[in-house]
Symmetry: C2
Amino acid sequence: MNKINLAEKFTQFSAHWSPKIIAELNGQHVKLGRIKGEFVWHRHEHEDELFLVVKGSFRMEFRDRHVDLHEGELLVVPRGVEHRPVAENECCIMMFEPASTLNTGNAGGPRTVAKPDWI
Amino acid sequence: MNKINLAEKFTQFSAHWSPKIIAELNGQHVKLGRIKGEFVWHRHEHEDELFLVVKGSFRMEFRDRHVDLHEGELLVVPRGVEHRPVAENECCIMMFEPASTLNTGNAGGPRTVAKPDWI
């Protein structure tokens, strides 16, 4: 039951699109991610996902629209909705989602992180 | 599926110890709170709670220790653990917890907010 300092945790990794787990509660994981560039289009059949921008900004693309997110802004992507995060410049995000959630959802492929590390 | 700006949401209420719901996902609520002074000692039998400091600082007291939390720091309080948040100066926090969670847990009493408002 120790506190977690987000800025300190972000110093512990530098890879993009490689989420790290920092906390678990009620079957949910809190994850940090550094993102840059375009991710893969995907959806999660059974999991809603929350994205909070800790530093920087990124765009969440949907098939019919997009949402630009800046520091201090969050977005919930409901289960079943195809999405693709895109960051022109590196962006630091925090995610809340069920512990079962895979980063690439239904898409799979080489960018899947099957078992994210705890930091 | 609109983005939520935390700073803007905090302008929508001023009462202390009156959590507001800003998002729901996977049976969990994301809540904002303004806290100042001492809350009541309580525990949650079935819910873990996450506290993230958005602005300011506060102290989470436990029966045998305490944790001082500052902006950008978070703490998970596991179910069953008695705790009491105390803020010398006003502090803005974000909470992540099951939708069933009552602010006063097992303690009940006049500071219970049975049905927090959505903002």
